[in-house]
């Protein structure tokens, strides 16, 4: 009889996570079950290998970058709080939240924070700018060996040209946000 999910997660912790991330009680217990089933070492934290054991994630071209997003700067283990904090970016915005004033700190799943998450997938060195190299790296991950360096380079150049407004040949977060929405993007 191993330890059961609900017995290891105390009610106070669930309440704290609820406040911080906005997930409901049952969603949190569900995700805790998921966390423990991924935690093969049973030490309460996940390592990068634990994530890579998920086949669908291992074959995702951006898999490594996404896994990286869960781990804070320079660390190799993520605990449940950190796990939930990152997943909270993807929680859909409920109707009753749309009209709230963001008087307190912005909720983790606001549009800005979602875009920040995506921005950080590009910006590996965390200097708040996406350089041509960083853009090329992500492009290379997504296309594999199927496109030549020159073609990829021209795609990167075109993208930077279109987005860069202050002429520093890299994309800052503000320029990233202003990328025009495509049809089908929901209005926040």
């Amino acid at each position: 009889m191993g330890s059961r999910a609900s017995t290891l997660l105390r009610e106070e912790e669930i309440e704290e996570i609820k406040k911080e991330t906005g997930f409901s009680h049952s969603q949190i217990t569900r995700l805790y079950s998921r966390f423990t089933s991924l935690d093969k070492g049973e030490n309460g934290t996940l390592s990068r290998e634990d994530f890579q054991r998920i086949p669908e994630l291992a074959i995702n071209p951006l898999g490594d970058r996404i896994i990286n997003a869960f781990f804070p700067e320079g660390e190799d283990q993520v605990n449940f709080r950190g796990f939930m904090r990152t997943l909270a970016h993807f929680r859909p915005i409920e109707d009753n939240e749309k009209n709230k004033n963001s008087s307190a700190s912005e909720p983790l799943n606001s549009r800005t924070n979602k875009l920040l998450f995506a921005f950080r997938l590009y910006d590996l060195d965390r200097d708040d700018k996406i350089s041509r190299d960083e853009l090329l790296q992500v492009l290379r991950m997504m296309v594999g060996v199927n496109i030549s360096d020159e073609q990829l380079g021209s795609i990167a150049d075109r993208t930077i040209q279109e987005a860069d407004t202050n002429g520093d040949n890299s994309i800052s977060f503000n320029e990233f946000i202003k990328v025009p929405p495509v049809d089908g993007e929901q209005d926040y």
Binding site: R4, S6, I54, N60, L62, G63, I66, P181
Partner: protein
């Protein structure tokens, strides 16, 4: 002093003697004799119906006690950035990354593969401690019921089942060795069939397995290949108690090895040495030699290669589909309410697993014999394997997955990632060419 103790000793001995005799007579009459003749008193089905009523009552009490219903995972739908599909995008945009990011995070929250390698979670509790995930203390009556169940299962059912198991296996080893001494011929085959069936039926009762066979007219015939989805070693006992098969497998040491060696004396099974298993040509040759001989029994094979938790069917290895025999697919679906039959070999060893099986309520399952299939013109082994797999999944109500069961232990191949990259590149490059042309 001696005079004082003697009567009590005698009385004790007599009582013990009587109870043992009664016990074994009951065992013989109600369990072993029906097993020999293949008939049933219906005791197990009555037991199953009673259990179902108890579970229903328990479920009601749990639902009354639960404060918040557990939502299913589909409620957590992911949303990030634009919802556009990659197909509609004409050229690269920074937001293309959202597509992969969303897929990646969705698979972190829940994926199709890793959950197949651990026991299925039940909707409602079936009064076994081992399947208690989120059910807290609800009421005194429920706890009493659970305690009673514990007593019955470990105090009465487990010893009974263990006795039967030893009887069944012992008889199998002994009788097949005896039959092995006979000269080859119809008499030997006939006796071997009867002995195998009888011993497997005793083993079925040792697990309190309540099996429903459907479509028995499609039962595998000589010279064919019987293919089934794999959940546990018990699958073999379940299928072999209804028909005679030639087994395929690696020779083990210990008790398993003894059983294997004696079985092969009575009728030809296909056992491989550990070194031979790697040689695919040798394996294929032995299998095809066996199916060509029409007097030999149909081969029983589990093409998934590993145990899956009975919610899905994973990739079938193509080896057995290349030899050109008629394939008789069989779908096995266990009812998880009475006991989870899945063998999680990374968590439990064989003995531990069997003890868990014998201390569950019962093993309830349905077996469907599907109509025979053969490889069609222009179909290669992999397509044929997938067609058979789809038929089995459909009949058993299981999810049909393309993923390899070997992912339980091994890493996924890079070729899958390369395929995704190729698809995305095609989309980008295709549009580049259009632009340069215009």
């Amino acid at each position: 002093m001696e005079l004082f103790f003697n009567p009590f000793d005698n009385l004790l001995c007599i009582l013990l003697g009587i109870s043992f005799t009664v016990w074994f007579t009951l065992l013989l009459v109600f369990i072993i004799v029906p097993a020999i003749f293949g008939v049933s008193f219906g005791i197990r089905r009555l037991y199953m119906k009673t259990l179902l009523k108890v579970f229903e009552w328990a479920t009601l009490r749990i639902e009354r006690g639960a404060k918040e219903k557990n939502h299913h995972f589909s409620c957590i739908c992911l949303f990030i950035g634009s919802n556009k599909d990659l197909d509609s995008a004409p050229e690269f945009e920074m937001s293309d990354i959202f597509y992969f990011a969303r897929r990646g995070v969705e698979s972190i929250m829940d994926d199709e593969v890793t959950k197949r390698f651990s026991a299925e979670e039940l909707e409602s509790w079936n009064l076994l401690t081992r399947s208690n995930y989120n059910f807290h203390y609800i009421s005194l009556r429920l706890t009493v019921l659970w305690g009673l169940g514990l007593l019955i299962r470990y105090g009465f059912l487990l010893p009974l089942r263990v006795t039967l198991a030893f009887t069944g296996v012992g008889l199998l080893v002994f009788l097949t060795s005896v039959i092995g001494l006979l000269p080859n011929g119809r008499m030997k085959n006939f006796l071997s069939e009867k002995v195998h069936l009888m011993c497997y039926r005793i083993c079925v009762r040792a697990l309190t397995a309540i099996i429903t066979y459907h479509d028995s007219e499609n039962k595998p015939k000589n010279g064919g290949l019987c293919v089934a989805n794999h959940t546990s070693p018990i699958d073999v006992i379940i299928l072999a108690s209804d028909g005679c098969y030639a087994m395929v497998g690696q020779i083990h040491g210990g008790l398993m090895g003894v059983i294997q060696k004696s079985m092969v004396k009575a009728c030809p099974h296909i056992w491989f040495e550990r070194s031979e298993v790697k040689d695919r040509h040798l394996v294929a040759k032995r299998l095809s030699d066996h199916v060509e001989d029409k007097s030999k029994l149909p081969i029983l094979i589990f093409p998934e290669g590993t145990c899956i938790n009975n919610t899905s069917v994973m990739m079938f290895k193509k080896g057995s589909f290349e030899i050109g025999a008629t394939v008789y697919p069989v779908a096995i679906k266990y009812d998880p309410r009475f006991g989870d039959a899945f063998w999680n070999s990374s968590k439990f060893g064989m003995v531990n697993y069997l003890l868990r099986m014998m201390s569950s309520w019962a093993i309830v399952c349905s077996v469907w014999y599907l109509p025979p299939m053969s490889r069609e013109e222009g179909e290669d082994a992999v397509q044929f394997a997938n067609r058979v797999k789809a038929a089995i999944a459909r009949q058993g109500g299981l999810v049909d997955l393309l993923w390899d069961g070997g992912l339980k232990r091994a890493k996924v191949k890079d070729t899958f990632k390369e395929e995704q990259q190729k698809l995305y590149s095609k989309m980008l490059v295709g549009t580049q060419e259009d632009r340069s042309r215009s």
